[in-house]
Symmetry: C2
Subunit: 140 residues, 2 copies
Amino acid sequence: MDWEGRLHAQGYRVTPQRALVLAAVNELAHATPEEILVRVQRQSPRVNLSTVYRTLEVLEGVGLVTHAHLGHGPPTYHSVDDNMHIHLVCRRCDGVESISESIARPFLEALDQQQGFATDIGHMAVHGVCRACREVPDGR
Amino acid sequence: MDWEGRLHAQGYRVTPQRALVLAAVNELAHATPEEILVRVQRQSPRVNLSTVYRTLEVLEGVGLVTHAHLGHGPPTYHSVDDNMHIHLVCRRCDGVESISESIARPFLEALDQQQGFATDIGHMAVHGVCRACREVPDGR
DNA sequence: GTATATGCAAAGGGTTTGCACGGTT
DNA sequence: AACCGTGCAAACCCTTTGCATATAC
């Protein structure tokens, strides 16, 4: 079903703001609400930040977008049909790498079988120290 | 080395507030800054929230405490010598389970060998749906 | 026409900062 | 005595909420 159908199906209305926010999320990938606002305002300057927040909530509710927490800042949104990926965030340089989730599959299966836990591995970043920073004696 | 020595070694001073905050972290486990404040104020009511924040930063800097992000709220602090564990956070019921990190070891090794990434698996929670919530048809 | 969505402004959590006073070294 | 640490208040960032107006249905 297309995005308009999805909104209708759940009793939501189709509005220009929702179209713009959805487009911004799809184009930007890993965008914060602020960044989404800026993008949306290029086409429609009067759109408000609170509308972006409310719209993201709706779009997430109907399964068109998701968010992930990469670090201490605001969450980032991306479209649901992006390939699922894991974010590796380095605590020294704050760099973010996106890698395929396949590397985590055995881990996810173990959590499923041993804990009964259905993991959304993309939702929270994995923190640590990246290769480049490890090679430096002390990156502090 | 004891905690006072650790502070001295890095040029920090030993103060009653730092003693109280460290004690609170050790006793509470997974405490937010607010919760730590409340505990500290039982013994010393004039201690300020900003002191708690500044103290946690110092204690973390000298390796006496760490923090983890369990969900959307504030971070939680615990002493470094707690057994390393993973937090499983359920997005339906918001429940938190702590499990041994051993289940993740193959995953951590894969990240190390394939990406050169040294993972701090305890720092960010793993999100998903817990066993209890999966057994309910629709937990929304 | 009616209910939902929006813009705006204000309030709300959590965290940080500036500054003068007080305490540790 | 010198400097770091603290209390207090204000500022800050991110997010939510109340309300009147505008808009999709």
